[in-house]
């Protein structure tokens, strides 16, 4: 594509920061040693891996020894859930939310078919978790609770401090998928009693193919990958040094930019939302706007369909995503929006714009201008809501 690109699909993946690319380069050429080797050539690599581990730990205020490098967020989620259950096979009850990413949702579904009792905690119309329901569902058989830190579709942030304290008080292990939260909101694991936490590199301007599993000291988790003694025997496989170094640099940058991003990116997002909801025929924001990631806007356009919207946005170089059934590859519309009780006509017409520090105010105006045109155009084709268009 030679045209101008306005990339607002950062919850799907992000651009690798130029600083990250630069940090990685030497490890593809001269510094190619194996960090586990006994000789000087490999041995010199270890300090770079340790340095990156320190930077990841600093982003979430953890001890570097609690950081395990994995291949992606999905691996971290799988390793956490299966590893914890393997370590305490006598407990057969597990709890999650209705709005998890498939990397958690489908693992729980599989476990449910294989002898585990699974409880799913509901969310309300704004996508907020029902803490009372969680309190009720926790029992002496509960082995693990896995609830995401922030939702990928709506950006809604869950009260992880309260959830973690509640789960710990009942003697269960708590895992959180923080793939969308890490780098966007402050995470302090000295303060928040999370046992395991997943991070994905490519959601915070590191490349695809690198992730992190935080495992609190003293929590027993059976390794998912067995083999060599890498990562202190907790995750076998030769260290992916260039990507580990890249992730370290990306975490350092995320840390550095966090407060600016929380202000600036949120300002752009709010601008986009207010312009669209004011000027569109019928647009409404999905999710709790009080507790939300600074970069995510999930907007439903009534009576028009998401894939059509995305295709027309694509035509002018705007990248976004949708909860419509037609864009999911499966045939079901977004399970997140459905769990929130959003009606079908709004789920199918939902568009998620997820921003990054690389977006500008001009991008927002560009999106508003085209989105309003596209809404008008698709409403003209739609058999629904004819009167509202005439009134607009």
């Amino acid at each position: 594509m030679s045209q101008n690109v306005v990339y607002t699909d950062n919850n799907a993946t992000t651009m690798v920061a130029p600083e990250v690319v630069e940090a990685m380069m030497p490890f593809f050429s001269q510094l190619y040693g194996n960090a586990s080797s006994m000789h000087f050539f490999g041995g010199q690599i270890k300090k770079y891996v340790d340095d990156a581990r320190g930077k990841v730990a600093a982003l979430i205020n953890a001890d570097p020894a609690e950081i395990i490098f994995t291949s992606c967020g999905t691996e971290s989620d799988n390793a956490a859930i299966r590893g914890i259950l393997a370590a305490q096979p006598e407990k057969r009850h597990i709890i999650t939310s209705r709005v998890e990413h498939p990397a958690v949702k489908n693992v729980f579904q599989h476990l449910g078919k294989n002898g585990y009792r699974v409880s799913e905690i509901s969310v309300d119309r704004l996508g907020r978790i029902d803490l009372d329901e969680l309190r009720e569902k926790l029992d002496h058989e509960t082995a693990l609770v896995s609830i995401m830190w922030a939702n990928n579709e709506t950006g809604v942030i869950f009260p992880i401090q309260e959830i973690a304290e509640l789960v710990k008080s009942r003697g269960a292990v708590f895992h959180t998928d923080a793939v969308q939260a890490a780098g966007k909101v402050s995470i302090d694991l000295h303060k928040t009693p999370v046992d395991l936490l997943s991070i994905s590199g490519h959601k915070l301007h590191a490349p695809k193919g690198i992730g992190v599993l935080y495992l609190r000291k003293g929590v027993h988790c059976v390794p998912f990958m067995m083999g060599g003694h890498q990562e202190s025997g907790r995750r076998a496989g030769t260290e992916n040094v260039p990507y580990i170094v890249g992730l370290g640099r990306a975490c350092e940058l995320a840390h550095e930019f966090m407060s600016v991003e929380q202000r600036e990116v949120a300002r752009l997002r709010d601008l986009l939302e207010s312009e669209l909801t004011e000027k569109a025929i019928d647009a409404s924001v999905n999710g709790d706007t009080e507790h939300r990631l600074p970069n995510t806007a999930n907007i439903s356009f009534k009576y028009i369909e998401g894939e059509s919207i995305l295709m027309l946005l694509s035509e002018v170089g705007i990248a976004a995503s949708s909860g419509s059934a037609c864009t999911s590859g499966s045939l079901e519309p977004s399970h997140v929006l459905r769990a929130m009780g959003i009606p079908f006509t709004r789920v199918h017409g939902s568009v998620r714009f997820s921003l990054s520090r690389y977006n500008t105010q001009d991008d927002m105006h560009f999106i508003v201008q085209h989105m309003l045109r596209i809404e008008k155009r698709l409403r003209d084709i739609s058999p629904f809501g004819r009167d509202e268009i005439n009134a607009h």
């Binding site: 028009i304 419509s324 045939l331 519309p333 789920v347 084709i381 058999p383 009167d387």
Partner: protein, 282 residues
Amino acid sequence: MWDYNEKVKEYFLNPRNVGEIKNADAVGEAGSLACGDQLKLMLKVDDKGLITDAKFQTFGCGSAIASASALTEMIIGKTMDDVAKITNKDIVDYLGGLPVEKMHCSVMGHEALEAAVSNYYGESPETLEAKKKHVVCECFGVTDQEIISVVRDNKLLTVEDVTHYTKAGGGCMSCHDKIRAIIEKVSGEAEKTVVPKPEAKKLTNLQKVKLIEETFEKEIRPMLRADGGDIELIDIEGSRVTVSLRGMCSSCTSASFTLKKYIEPKLREFVSDDITVEEVKP
């Protein structure tokens, strides 16, 4: 991103014959809100049975718009008898192919055309609905007749194919055995298309009322209330359920779709599979 060919993109970006025909001689509708697609096809037919104009409105994805657009082009200038022979495969061929996951969009076009033809020959939408009363896939409300016709017209061999073409079997997957049985019947003995009918549950009226109320509470009200609407059970006569839509639903233009495409399938799923739902205005 779906791999749409240039012609499909062209027909999506510059749709033909979008709009409404006032006093249309035939109208056909297909699709469902739950699936995120809905097509309304309107025809102007002269006294010799020739289609002089066709227009459509659709709530749907790129390939739904392209399919509807292509369909109108294909039928203008043809007679009602000619177009009755058009299948979903003809629409796909006209467009030079659709991604396999998107075949159901062509099926929707075909269904709307079928409905328009029936409408032209004086069959009411209710009779048409009654004809198709054996719902195989409860999740997406797909009937045996729809599955039989795509299996026959497109020579489908697997459940996955049927899912791509009709969405049937794409949800809870509990109907896969029934779909497999249909494929075997159709491909085995093409002249005979008998399908195993689901056993009708025998319920007393009281049990029915209880089950219907429960289904309303658990399955239907949460959705309606989200839009400021509500539903009330008015009467039950055998398998005929009369309801009244309240609040926003009573003035909603898509209420009849909701009734037939959402409420009725839910009641068939949770109460009894021969239920038909009708609305009375409060």
